[in-house]
């Protein structure tokens, strides 16, 4: 080697300085631009909250990756064995400074993440299914919409509009929606991607999720829990439309489905269909 090997302190300094520089640069980039490309986008208040959450996560994860990459690149290039005979490294078995710093930093990070996540979660439920007795209930009036999952499609009921049942999901803009998700057969999961909503649909269970829509847009709905043969094809689209348009849509749906309305079961939070044919 042309240059003499650096002393121990210099190794440490190089890695720490390099790690910090790269971490800071990468973290700033993520924090500034992260929100633009991170899912689920700006489709609802909850979705925006999740974007913030994802940005914070990524901003915390980035310096860890950057720091460790610097460490490994430095270590793997600087400390490689050269020459034929085996040479032992220095017998370092412990270093209380490293140990304490590491534990403190990881613990603080973890506790911050858990605290932040809890804060975000309790604010508005962050779009997740909360079961029949939700804990994070936003104030104000809400439009209840029921999602009925079955193999292999979603249908929707609007209890405030006479229990209207329709295969389309249309929601009014700038409104708080109270989704009641249930299933008739297997476990499904109602995932409205751009609205940031995910709630499992269990037979006999009323799983409630809240979401506040923003402006008019379309969004994708997919089943996110393996539910049998055509799970892959269990998807459709939904629309968020202005209030007036929504009322008109409800009217047209009510007249369209009037002939079958009398055959529908009464609106209920859960449905127990006849016992299915079971294997055996």
């Amino acid at each position: 080697m042309a240059t003499p090997a650096p002393k121990r302190a210099e190794h440490g300094k190089r890695v720490i300085v390099g790690g910090i520089v790269l971490s800071v640069v990468a973290t700033v980039l993520v924090a500034v631009f992260g929100g633009r490309f991170l899912p689920p986008g700006n489709g609802s208040v909850q979705a925006s909250g999740q974007v913030l959450d994802n940005t914070v996560m990524l901003a915390i994860v980035t310096p860890v990756i950057a720091g460790l990459l610097v460490f490994f690149i430095y270590v793997l290039s600087q400390f490689r064995h050269r020459g034929g005979a085996l040479v032992d490294g220095p017998p370092l078995r412990d270093d209380s400074r490293v140990r304490v710093w590491w534990i403190v930093v990881t613990s603080v990070t973890v506790l911050f993440l858990a605290g932040f996540g809890t804060f975000e979660l309790l604010q508005n439920g962050s779009g997740g299914g909360q079961g029949p007795d939700p804990i994070a209930v936003p104030a104000g009036t809400k439009l209840p919409v029921q999602v009925i999952a079955q193999q292999w499609q979603f249908t929707y009921r609007y209890p405030t509009y006479g229990g209207l049942e329709t295969p389309q999901l249309v929601l009014p803009a700038n409104t708080y929606i109270e989704l009641h998700v249930t299933s008739l057969d297997a476990i499904h999961s109602f995932w409205a991607i751009e609205l940031g909503v995910k709630a499992d649909a269990n037979p006999g269970v009323d799983n409630v999720a809240f979401v506040k829509t923003k402006g008019p847009r379309t969004f994708h709905v997919r089943c996110a829990e393996l539910c049998g043969l055509w799970h892959g094809y269990m998807f459709n689209n939904g629309r968020v439309v202005p209030e007036a348009q929504f009322t008109a849509w409800v009217k047209s749906q009510q007249s369209d489905f009037a002939p079958i309305a009398k055959y529908l079961p009464k609106y209920s939070t859960t449905y127990y269909p006849d016992p299915q044919r079971r294997a055996g």
Binding site: H11, P39, Q46, Q50, D53, M57, I60, V61, V64, I65, L68, F72, L76, F79, R80, H81, L86, V87, D88, G89, P90, P91, L92, D95, V98, T106, S107, V110, A114, G117, T118, L121, S126, G128, G129, Q130, G131, D185, I187, S189, W191, I193, G196, K198, N202, P203, V205, C223, A224, L226, G228, H231, G232, P273, P275, Q276, R277, R278, A279, G280
Partner: protein, 621 residues
């Protein structure tokens, strides 16, 4: 001995014959006892009971054929405990009940490797389907069965992927013993696993199963009879895991050689100990859960049928009470192998031994308290979500400790890039990505996007394939010369490593994007056209990853069957005790039980011997 006598003795051939016989005996006994009264399917000439009894009879016949019942029957007649079955020399030992832990280790390596390749082949079939968004290569039901077999095979078989081959072979040697505590149980765990693997494969004769590896209810209650094969497979794996863990702990606790105090135990032994603890406590929950599911199908109980007083949540809870420790059953041996191998190739002592042990035990303990993060949006216990979020994220502290110990072991070392070391270094990268993507899944608001999507799928492939399978190969390249006495080709090994590492990342990293940005749920047979480029990229990389596995197979067969270059006793310059024995290790392991005087990591600390011949005082450092 004539061929005929060989075939009639207790061996794999007899076992297969009796297994098939037992299967039909069970099948027809159900017909005789129950008749067609339980026959819900008028067009099918059997009922669930006959199928399940058939498999139970088959497994019993298989074990009888191998000779597992000879000893219990002798005990029943009052013969006292004895250690070993009749020993055959030569190759026949590998195809029969053999109580030599070294034979069992090699049986495990080959047997698990076989099923690992079957599981991998299923992955290739999955990626073939996903080449085109809409075109169906496999019918939807076949596709789900392929997905299910892939997941179940990997999660079930690979739980023993490191403990089976390496712990069985090495634990007695590392602790200075001549055998495992219960040699017959050791053999039993292996043969049960093989029977289970075959049972899972036979699901294709009964319509396959649509539930993936989790077997969620009520889908499982409604499914084809093929799902019985899944339940029986996993229940047998659970029994095998429980017994394996029990045997490991008993061995490590009671059979350590003099001088081998807890603080001198190699870190690999600690990893095995913590994994075994998880197995003993978590696997019984799995057995109970799957028994309930089987009873729901066979005797029409209603554990999981909500309309009849049961609950599907019960299954989800019980399954994940097992399932999350199971994930660490897969991950912990990987930590242990990395920490065991790093000191050898960095030529430094393991940094922070106590910290590493604490990390392993911390993960073990915490893993029992995180299961509901799989159920954040299932609609149960919404008020417990902050707790499970916290407990899940707390696991990263002990995991981080093992990371720190590994990193500080490399620090200022004399690093040699041999093949096992490369796989261990890749573990750091993979597990870093896998672990940090897990943060998004543990946080409930972020999980709204990532849960059940390809993001979570990429996450656990990074942790399990990147964490377990990479260290599995590290173990193979590191220890197979000791186990077989022959070297593996270094050049081919390096090519295998680099192709595997590159194509592994090219395969699984894009899946994060597909799940996160593209909103692609798991286990789908179709996807939006916009994601075709990503999926095609992944499929092609996956095929190349499969090719890299074939390269390994070529290397393995070429080196061990054709080249047969004898390996020196200590090719890596390690101080650990297994490298002070001849390769392969003789049948009795040690002529005299050794006395340990230090841990095996004394690099750069002078010529301190790890073991001293028996008779010298213990603890002479």
């Amino acid at each position: 001995m004539s061929v005929a006598r060989r075939l009639v003795g207790f061996n794999l051939f007899t076992a297969c014959v009796l297994g098939v016989g037992g299967w039909y005996a069970g099948w027809f006994s159900a017909h005789a006892v129950v008749g067609p009264s339980l026959d819900y399917f008028a067009d099918v000439d059997f009922n669930e009971l006959s199928l399940v009894l058939g498999y139970i009879g088959g497994v019993l016949g298989f074990l009888i054929g191998l000779g597992f019942f000879n000893y219990p029957l002798a005990r029943l007649r009052g013969y006292p405990p004895s250690l070993r079955e009749k020993e055959q020399g030569g190759i026949g030992r590998y195809f029969s009940l053999c109580t030599d832990h070294k034979v069992v280790g090699i049986q495990y390596l080959v047997g698990i490797g076989l099923f690992f390749f079957i599981g991998g082949l299923n992955a290739m079939l999955i990626r073939t389907e996903l080449l085109r968004p809409d075109h169906q290569v496999w019918p939807a039901g076949t596709y789900l069965t392929i997905v299910g077999i892939h997941g179940t095979m990997m999660m079930g078989m690979m739980t023993s992927g490191i403990l089976g081959p390496f712990a069985n072979y090495l634990i007695p040697i590392l602790i200075g013993a001549r055998r495992m505590a219960f040699p017959r149980i050791e053999a039993l765990t292996f043969w049960l696993l093989m029977a289970a693997g075959v049972i899972l494969e036979t699901t294709i004769f009964f319509g396959g199963f649509p539930t993936g590896w989790t077997g969620y209810q009520p889908l499982g209650t409604e499914a084809n009879p093929g799902i019985d094969c899944y339940y029986l497979f996993f229940a047998l794996v659970g029994i095998s895991m429980t017994l394996l863990g029990l045997n490991m702990i008993a061995t490590i606790v009671t059979m350590r050689a003099p001088g081998l105090t807890w603080s001198r135990l190699p870190i690999f032994v600690w990893g095995v100990l913590s994994t075994a603890a998880l197995m003993v406590l978590a696997a019984p929950v799995l057995i109970a859960t799957l028994s309930m599911a089987l009873m729901d199908r066979v005797v029409q109980t209603n554990f999981f049928v909500a309309a009849q007083g049961g609950s599907a949540y019960l299954y989800e809870n019980l399954f994940w009470v097992f399932g999350h420790p199971e994930v660490y059953v897969l991950a912990l041996p990987g930590f242990a192998i990395v920490l065991e191998i790093l000191p050898v190739f960095a030529r430094k002592p393991l940094w922070g031994y106590r910290l590493a042990v604490g990390g392993l035990l911390g993960v073990t303990l915490l893993s029992f308290f995180v299961w509901q993060h799989h159920l954040f949006f299932s609609g149960i216990n919404a008020d417990l979500r902050p707790f499970f979020m916290l407990s899940t994220e707390l696991i990263s502290i002990p995991t981080g400790l093992t990371f720190l110990c590994g990193m500080m072991t490399l620090w200022r070392g004399q690093i040699r890039y041999s093949v096992p070391m490369l796989f261990c270094l890749a573990w750091f990268f993979n597990f870093l990505i896998g672990g940090l993507s897990g943060v998004f899944l543990s946080d409930t608001p972020s999980d709204t996007t990532t849960h059940g999507s390809f993001f979570s799928m990429a996450h656990f492939h990074y942790t399990i394939m990147g964490g377990l399978v990479f260290t599995f190969f590290a173990g193979i390249y590191y220890w197979v010369p000791k186990m077989t006495g022959f070297q593996l080709n270094e050049r081919l090994g390096k090519i295998h490593f680099w192709t595997m590492f590159v194509f592994f990342n090219l395969t699984f990293f894009p899946l994060f994007i597909a799940g996160f940005q593209g909103g692609m749920p798991r286990r789908v047979v179709t996807y939006p056209h916009g994601l075709q480029f990503l999926n095609d990229w992944v499929s092609v990389s996956a095929f190349l990853l499969g090719g890299s596995m074939l390269l390994f197979l070529y290397n393995f067969v070429k080196s061990l069957v054709f080249d047969r270059i004898p390996s020196p006793a200590d090719p890596w310059g390690s101080k650990s005790i297994e490298w002070q024995l001849p390769s392969p290790v003789p049948v009795q392991n040690f002529d005299r039980i050794p006395v340990f005087s230090s841990d095996p990591y004394g690099y750069g600390e002078g010529g301190r011997p790890v073991v001293v011949p028996a008779g010298a005082p213990a603890g002479m450092n």
